[in-house]
């Protein structure tokens, strides 16, 4: 991990001044059901100024549809933290969410579209 989050020690570079559990109000899991690592989100507001930097960075990354895993990867935030930050942004209506990725796919049409695309690779 290129950036260490608060680990109980108040020293070293790259350690945020505010522990991240404070930033997310102690939330330890997302309230939005189905917030899977593959779930995609998009920014609803162009202006994310005034948000804390960690939130602001996410909104700026979400100008087009992007998955939680991609946000985590690009911003180098741990996955669970990313999920919770996104959850807070959804509640505050800075982001909108796509379909949950945890639904079992029983739609043959979706699988057929995937086949067509894979055959064109």
């Amino acid at each position: 991990m290129s950036r260490d989050f608060w680990n109980g020690a108040d020293h070293g570079d790259g350690v945020p001044l505010v522990p991240l559990y404070v930033l997310v109000n102690g939330r330890t899991s997302p309230r939005t059901v189905g917030l899977d690592l593959a779930t995609q989100v998009i920014a609803l507001k162009a202006d994310s100024g005034g948000l804390e930097p960690e939130y602001d960075a996410i909104v700026k990354r979400c100008q087009t549809w992007i998955s939680i895993a991609e946000i985590s990867s690009y911003l180098k935030y741990p996955l669970t933290l990313t999920r919770i930050l996104v959850d807070v942004l959804l509640e505050r209506q800075f982001l909108a969410v796509g379909s949950p990725a945890q639904e079992t796919i029983v739609d043959r049409g979706i699988l057929e579209k995937i086949l067509v695309r894979l055959k064109s690779l």
Binding site: L37, S67, R108, G109, R117, L121
Partner: protein
């Protein structure tokens, strides 16, 4: 919102070529996301001595393939360490299925993945990775050694080759379709 994500999993033991496979089919350079967990939370949680907790990083490699304007396929490699099953559980939930990469020099490295998907009835194909040269075994020998069920497809692939990896995914999606309940049609 109708924006839809679908997931495929690439599993197999350490060094079977998962990251190579993900990279060969992805339309973007493979990305890595990390989960930071404390060793204590892996076993018994112990809140004493927090300052001494060592954090372990579980890394997940993944790629993406845009299917249509509103569907994106994500291909996730499982973490190298098999013991982080909680990550497998999240990856598998709602996944179309899995490719289990097999290195014929170390068949046993793929046993845990095969067991995992069989037990959860998640469609999978076993893919013998020819990365390390021609496979000296016949299909039946490998099926027997892996204890594959008769309906589980076994394919040969070269994880470095885009066409070969894409064919493996095609075989997986076809297999997943064959497992759908009869009469499941789209939108009709």
């Amino acid at each position: 919102m109708a924006r839809k994500s679908v997931k495929l999993i690439v599993a197999g033991g350490f060094g079977t070529g998962k990251t190579t496979f993900v990279g060969s089919v992805s339309e973007i350079s493979p990305l890595t996301t990390e989960e930071s967990i404390t060793e204590a939370s892996v076993g018994v949680d112990d809140i004493r001595g927090i300052e001494d907790k060592h954090s372990t990083t579980v890394a997940l490699d993944f790629g993406r393939i845009t299917i249509t304007d509103d569907i994106v396929l994500y291909v996730f490699g499982t973490p190298g360490q098999d013991r982080f099953w909680f990550m497998w559980d999240e990856l598998s939930q709602g996944a179309i299925g899995a490719v289990v990469l097999v290195d014929t020099r170390r068949l046993d490295a793929s046993f845990p993945a095969i067991d995992y998907f069989e037990q959860r009835r998640i469609p999978f194909v076993a893919a013998v990775n020819k990365f390390y040269g021609e496979c000296p075994y016949e299909e039946e020998e490998i099926r027997h050694a892996l204890k594959l069920r008769p309906d589980a497809p076994l394919v040969w692939c070269d994880a470095r080759d885009r066409d070969s990896s894409a064919l493996t995914l095609i075989r997986l999606v076809e297999h997943a379709m064959s497992q759908l309940p009869v009469g499941t049609w789209s939108g009709v």
